[in-house]
C-alpha cells in the first residue's frame, strides 16, 4: 500500500470516480432505453436533466470522468514505464493541474446558462 500521501488519494479518487461513472452509466442506459417508448415518454423523463440539481450533477459527472481519464493516463504510463514509479507523486500533481485547467472552463461553460 501507499501508507498515505498523494498516491493513496490518487488511487482512492480513481476507484470512487469509477464507481460514480459506472452508476450513472447504468441510469443512462435505462433513460436512453425510453426512446423505444416514443417521444412523450422519452422527452418527459430526459427533460428532468435540465433541472438545476441535475445540471450540477452533470458537472460532477464530467469531473469524475475527467479525473478518471487523466489519472488513468498516469497509471498506464507508470505500468508501461516502471521507472516512472518513483515519479508517481509529481505525475499526480500534473494530473491535478491538468484537471483544474480543463475542468474550470468546462464547468463555467456548462453552468453559464444557469447563472444568468
Amino acid at each position: 500500500m501507499y501508507r498515505g500521501g498523494p498516491g493513496q488519494w490518487a488511487w482512492l479518487l480513481h476507484r470512487w470516480s469509477g464507481v460514480a461513472v459506472l452508476l450513472f452509466l447504468l441510469i443512462h442506459i435505462l433513460d436512453t432505453g425510453l426512446v423505444l417508448f416514443g417521444p412523450q415518454v422519452y422527452d418527459k423523463v430526459v427533460g428532468l436533466y435540465t433541472h438545476p440539481v441535475f445540471r450540477v450533477g452533470e458537472v460532477g459527472l464530467v469531473a469524475a470522468v475527467l479525473y478518471h481519464a487523466l489519472n488513468g493516463i498516469r497509471i498506464t504510463l507508470i505500468d508501461f514505464y516502471p521507472e516512472l514509479t518513483e515519479r508517481q507523486r509529481p505525475l499526480f500533481y500534473a494530473v491535478v493541474s491538468v484537471f483544474v485547467l480543463l475542468f474550470l472552463p468546462t464547468a463555467y461553460l456548462m453552468l453559464e446558462t444557469l447563472l444568468w
Partner: protein, 130 residues
C-alpha cells in the same frame, strides 16, 4: 491489491486471465479516453442537455455511424466498469459465500445492461419523416 516490486512498481499479474484483464483495462481505457471525453464534449458542451430530446436522438441515430459510436462506447465502458468493480470485490469482499454471490450478481447485471443497451440501439427506428 497487486504485489509490488522493491522499487514500488507493479509485479506481472499471476495467471493469464488477470494479465488479459489488466491489459484490457489499459487498452479500453485509452480508447475510452477519446470515446467518452468526445461524447461528453459533444453532448454536454457543444449541444447541452436542453437540446437533447426524442427528435435529437432520432436525428443522430439516423446515421449508423453514430449508433456504432454509441454502442462501442456503451460496451467498452460497461465492461471496463464491470472489471473495475470485480477488482473491488476482490479487495473488499472476504466472506467466500458473499464473494461468489457478488461476482455472480456482477456478471448478471453487466450482461443484462449490455443486452438491454444493445437492443435499444439496434431496435430504435427513426420515425418516417424524421
Amino acid at each position: 491489491m497487486a504485489e509490488l516490486t522493491a522499487a514500488g512498481g507493479r509485479t506481472r499479474p499471476a495467471g493469464k486471465l488477470e494479465l488479459y484483464a489488466w491489459l484490457f483495462m489499459r487498452v479500453s481505457g485509452v480508447v475510452l479516453l477519446f470515446l467518452a471525453l468526445g461524447h461528453l464534449a459533444i453532448m454536454h458542451l457543444l449541444e447541452g442537455v436542453d437540446k437533447i430530446n426524442f427528435a435529437f436522438v432520432a436525428g443522430r441515430w439516423s446515421n449508423p455511424l453514430w449508433r456504432f459510436y454509441d454502442w462501442f462506447l456503451l460496451a467498452l465502458a460497461l465492461v471496463h466498469g464491470f472489471n473495475g468493480v470485480r477488482v473491488m470485490v476482490d479487495d473488499y469482499v472476504r466472506r467466500p459465500g458473499l464473494r461468489v454471490f457478488s461476482l455472480v450478481m456482477l456478471w448478471v447485471l453487466t450482461l443484462v445492461f449490455l443486452v438491454a443497451g444493445t437492443l435499444v440501439i439496434v431496435l430504435f427506428q427513426v420515425p418516417v419523416g424524421g
